[in-house]
């Protein structure tokens, strides 16, 4: 006997999804949202100040004092040696630039593609971009042997008649990172202007003065909006290639060197994807922290957003695995003697466990967790996955830089790298990132309220047949 249908599911299995669980279909008035955001900025507990204080102390000791010590003593206090001339400092540079990619990705690419789920957390991601770049910049300077002369990288006319050498990938890097830092800071600022105006309108005292300055006199007239939106559109389109170029150029620092394990043409896209991998994961961590520690954020940051992030993370993880495999198999199959030695060293050398840990964190963990929608929508779980991915990506950079550098074409010099003061400075770097974020969280509206309201305006529920279907009208 043939049946006309498969067994039916339990009733209401699909109806359980209430559209009101989505931020866009749970509108509140702008004033209410403004107050919520303002309240979240104003409420500081003793816990907040304790954490901030501890972070500040760590920054002063582990970053500023340790840096002073490093400068006065020379890089000998770090673990770099011959042949590992580049150590954790550059791992940090790549790592933080990677982190910084998430902000641009979310606010630029998703803005261009009109992914509505981005609305509440573009700001949080953009802040990560800027603060991540600050850390990357610091790490570059930490890395330099004579940092006090780093201004020689700036092309300016001088009495020596000397200019920087644009043949050098580091110079491209310098230009690209400066461009990226400047443009991402501007891009952070543009959508912030209306929110600054909002904050200006509802604060007093020094905050008022500061917001007034930052709101640069914005009222919201037609012309102002038009200019702002136009500028933002230009930025959204222009910053995407810059973002790709930045990490590609970072990868070229390695790929341009004729070193086994580095000289690879897939490094550009591989690094970009790697950057997104760690960046997305970092967004997950930061969103989780914001949501769980700041007031009123559970309204703005909802499981649906973690779901979106989770999907992106899964996608990026797969892409990363694809690119890694690409890089791997080419050198595995190609049979270049030195490439093979590098591979053998990473897999079977004294640091073999780092390689396995990297693969586990970067591929296995996201694959295992992020397929499941329920798990994706669990913020703490996503944060843990994010943490592991970040650890994995940090290890990936560690394997690419100090570990690969151990192997070169002169076996007589092969030597392992043992980090020294870098560890302290890394702690300082992380603390500085979180300190900046903590301070910013009480000064800048972490939710772009006007964008959320804009979203509310364009979303409706439309009744089609028996169901109310969330519907988006393009108002931009």
């Amino acid at each position: 006997m043939s049946s006309i249908a498969k067994p039916l599911a339990l009733p209401h299995a699909e109806e359980q999804e209430d559209p009101r669980e989505q931020l866009m279909h749970d509108p509140r008035s702008r004033g209410e949202m403004n107050d919520m955001v303002m309240e979240s900025m104003h409420s500081t507990t003793w816990k907040y100040w304790t954490v901030t204080g501890i972070l500040a102390v760590i920054v002063v000791v582990c970053l500023f004092y340790a840096w002073y010590y490093l400068i006065m003593q020379g890089l000998g206090v770090a673990g770099v040696n011959r042949p590992v001339y580049w150590g954790i400092f550059l791992v940090e540079v790549v790592f933080w630039i990677g982190i910084s990619h998430a902000g641009t990705f979310i606010s630029a690419i998703l803005r261009v593609l009109k992914v509505e789920g981005r609305r509440p957390f573009t700001r949080a991601a953009e802040l990560m971009t800027t603060f991540g770049l600050v850390q990357a910049g610091i790490s570059v300077f930490l890395h330099m042997g004579r940092v006090w002369l780093s201004y020689w990288l700036i092309p300016f006319p001088n009495e020596r008649g000397l200019w920087p050498d644009f043949h050098s990938p580091l110079m491209w890097d310098f230009m690209a990172i400066s461009t990226y830092l400047l443009s991402s800071t501007m891009y952070l600022f543009l959508p912030l202007i209306p929110d600054m105006a909002m904050a200006r309108d509802r604060s007093t005292g020094w905050r008022k003065a500061a917001y007034r300055i930052l709101a640069i006199g914005f009222r919201g007239t037609e012309g102002e909006w038009k200019n702002l939106i136009t500028a933002m559109n230009i930025f959204a389109f222009a910053i995407i290639p810059v973002m790709f170029s930045v990490h590609t150029i970072v990868s070229w620092d390695f790929a341009m060197a004729s070193r086994p394990g580095w000289s690879s043409s897939v490094f550009g896209p591989y690094f970009v994807i790697g950057a997104l991998h760690s960046g997305m994961a970092a967004v997950a961590i930061v969103l989780f922290l914001i949501r769980s520690t700041m007031k009123n954020m559970k309204y703005f940051l909802r499981p649906e957003h973690f779901d979106l992030l989770g999907k992106l993370m899964l996608m990026v993880s797969m892409a990363w695995a694809y690119f890694y495999f690409n890089d791997y198999i080419v050198s595995w199959y190609g049979g270049d003697k030195w490439e093979k030695i590098v591979q053998e060293f990473t897999e079977k050398g004294p640091l073999w466990y780092l390689w396995y840990a990297m693969l586990f964190f970067n591929i296995v963990v996201p694959f295992a967790v992020l397929w499941n929608k329920k798990w994706r929508q669990t913020p703490w779980l996503l944060a843990i996955v994010g943490l592991l991915i970040n650890a994995g990506m940090w290890l990936e950079r560690y394997i690419i830089i100090p570990e690969t550098l151990t192997i070169n074409r002169m076996p007589f010099t092969w030597r392992l790298y043992v980090p020294g003061v870098e560890i302290v400075l890394t702690i300082g770097n992380f603390a500085f990132f979180f300190l900046l974020y903590m301070l910013a969280s009480r000064f800048l509206p972490l939710i772009p309220v006007w964008e959320v309201q804009e979203g509310h305006e364009s979303h409706t529920l439309r009744k089609i047949g028996k169901a109310s279907i969330p519907t988006l009208s393009d108002m931009e």
Partner: protein, 199 residues
């Protein structure tokens, strides 16, 4: 509190205060730089003008310039060669350090002034061989008492001359002879080479 501070800055007096602070910082920096450029105190306030005036050649005391890198500074023996025959030597208070140095067999610790940094190798000989007179770089010493550098000895200054001397223009190559042009190019390659001075 902070607001008050910002408000105070908006007052005319506050703005003047900011201006004054900036000025003080700036002039301190200028003063600091100026301090580094002041000529040092020499053990003997040697009057170059007097010695050049009586017709003593630069190379008499700084003879190393003819043969090698450093022209050298004269020892008390050289001074004494002339000064022991002069009556003023024993009477002038300015010459007391010299007399003492000779009597105690102590050196005169001249402080070199026309110095390039340690990472620059400057060799006098080829410059003299190229026909440059001392005063081209050291200024008119006959007008100075204690020597002072007439200009900042920096890389741009060196390079400008090296380039000018090898530039292929009418002055250097009046007949526009291709052979001279080629020779100038070769010379320029050498004279603008980093390895000429830095090693």
């Amino acid at each position: 509190m902070i607001k008050k501070f910002f408000d105070a800055l908006n007052q005319p007096l506050g703005r003047i205060g900011v201006l004054i602070t900036l000025l003080v910082v700036f002039s301190a920096a200028v003063w600091g730089i100026a301090q580094t450029q002041k000529p040092p105190e020499q053990p003997i306030q040697f009057p170059h003008n007097l010695h050049v005036g009586v017709g003593i050649q630069c190379l008499y005391c700084h003879s190393g310039a003819l043969r090698g890198a450093s022209p050298g500074l004269p020892t008390e023996t050289k001074c004494w060669g002339c000064h022991q025959q002069m009556a003023i030597t024993n009477t002038s208070p300015l010459l007391k350090p010299l007399v003492q140095a000779v009597e105690n067999n102590q050196p005169i610790n001249w402080i070199p002034v026309a110095q390039v940094p340690d990472f620059v190798r400057f060799v006098h000989r080829p410059h003299i061989a190229a026909g440059l007179n001392c005063e081209v770089c050291h200024g008119n010493v006959s007008q100075m008492t204690v020597y002072q550098n007439p200009q900042v000895l920096n890389m741009g200054w060196c390079l400008a001359c090296h380039r000018a001397k090898t530039e292929d223009n009418i002055q250097n190559n009046p007949g526009r002879d291709p052979a001279i042009t080629a020779a100038l190019a070769t010379k320029r390659t050498k004279l603008t080479d980093c390895s000429l001075c830095h090693y």
